[in-house]
Symmetry: D2
Subunit: 143 residues, 4 copies
């Protein structure tokens, strides 16, 4: 698979803020760290809205990070498609994350005309261990 | 599988509010509707914190509903275990939900000593169509 | 969702034998027991090719049963489509199956123009306990 | 995670042939290509028992390859455990494989006392594209 970068990190960040303002409602916690063809790295700040007792990060917060990383990798690779929707997401929770920001690193395994499939490894910042792993599928609308 | 009901609807509701106050931080939107051995029905109010543009309900909100329905079905069937943790969750998004409350109906397929596995069907209140479907696994701590 | 039955049990059985003779190569072990709109029940005979030491049935044999049950439910609901392909399959193994035939009962949760999603519960014949549970997605070719 | 290699490629190969002779019943098609701590590469020969019309490889054959790659990575990392069993397997079919042998490359994401979780990328020999991707969980018996 050869793919070009269709949106820069700045383009994707601006697109998210314009099209999905509600994800920032609880705080400015989502940051696009890197984009490349078929790849993206997202950062989720450690924020009270995502925390469970004992300092751990909630499962849904990690699912949101993974879903967003998949979407950003798709945007970066095919350009702005507001209507792509998640059809399947499978998450394995592997270790309790640290009370720190988390990074979600996405790699698209397939980018077809109708479906995109990717995997996301999530780590606490500064850690090598994967705290949670996702594979997910987006349905891409016909142009 | 024969199982008894170990916690009533009122017991489970009180347990959730005492042990997981943070899930009610954004609003009192989670309601245990029914419990039975190996079964539970949860209700998620239609609340601004769960909504995406166009009135649709966010994917992570539905994942939270499913995860909570699994946990309540386990609590109802084995009693209060604060430390059960989700290890795997697989969700299929099937239809755009209505701008209404959602119900998550959980059925445990297995309740072993170490692992519990269940499925959750999620519908908009008043609708027969399944908007999203989850299968999930919880790891149960040794007594 | 309202759907009609587009192929009878006999039609589907004949279609499978004509289009997929290779699945019967190791023995005449696959039987369509029932079809209805959005539903199908498949039977897998207990056959040496599917058995592991101790009399248990192999995981891939159960995945094949589930995949076939999904395909038959789709065929019964939309008619003969040779080119539908599985895009995702998620299986939970719950209990060791008995040394007996297995039944796979499929219910389609969504039957769209592009994607069909269903779940399959697999039991040893004569048992109420679910031995394995699958959710799967088929991609349906444009007409 | 630091892990040692507990069984060599030769050890694992001999163990599989001794403990699981039935997987070789249809032909000597499964080969352990590499093992390392938390990693394994398995090769599946292109064999008539795995083929569908048009020369493509069956879905269950790919699931078997992935399941075996996970098991070999676990064996290599913790030593001979005959009774580890698959509890969950999630597969995404991405591209039609070539009419050639396939390689399944496994990486364990977690190797705990009770559960091991890994991912497997499957490619046609000589191809860079991933034909199918699996994440799977094994339950490890108490010592």
């Amino acid at each position: 698979m050869k793919h070009q970068l269709m949106m820069s990190r700045e383009d994707v960040s601006a697109f998210l803020r314009r099209e999905f303002p509600q994800i920032y409602m609880q705080g400015d916690i989502w940051h696009v760290e890197e984009v490349a063809p078929l790849r993206a790295v997202l950062r989720m700040d450690y924020h009270e809205s995502q925390i469970r007792p004992g300092g751990t990060i909630s499962g849904p917060a990690m699912m949101t990070l993974a879903d967003l990383a998949l979407y950003v990798a798709i945007l970066a690779s095919i350009g702005p498609v507001g209507l792509a929707v998640t059809t399947n997401l499978n998450i394995n929770f592997l270790r309790k994350p640290e009370p720190r920001p988390m990074l979600g690193e996405c790699r698209l395994l397939k980018l077809g005309k109708r479906l995109a499939v990717g995997e996301v490894s999530m780590r606490s910042e500064g850690s090598d261990d994967i705290a949670a792993h996702v594979t997910g599928t987006y349905s891409i609308p016909s142009a």
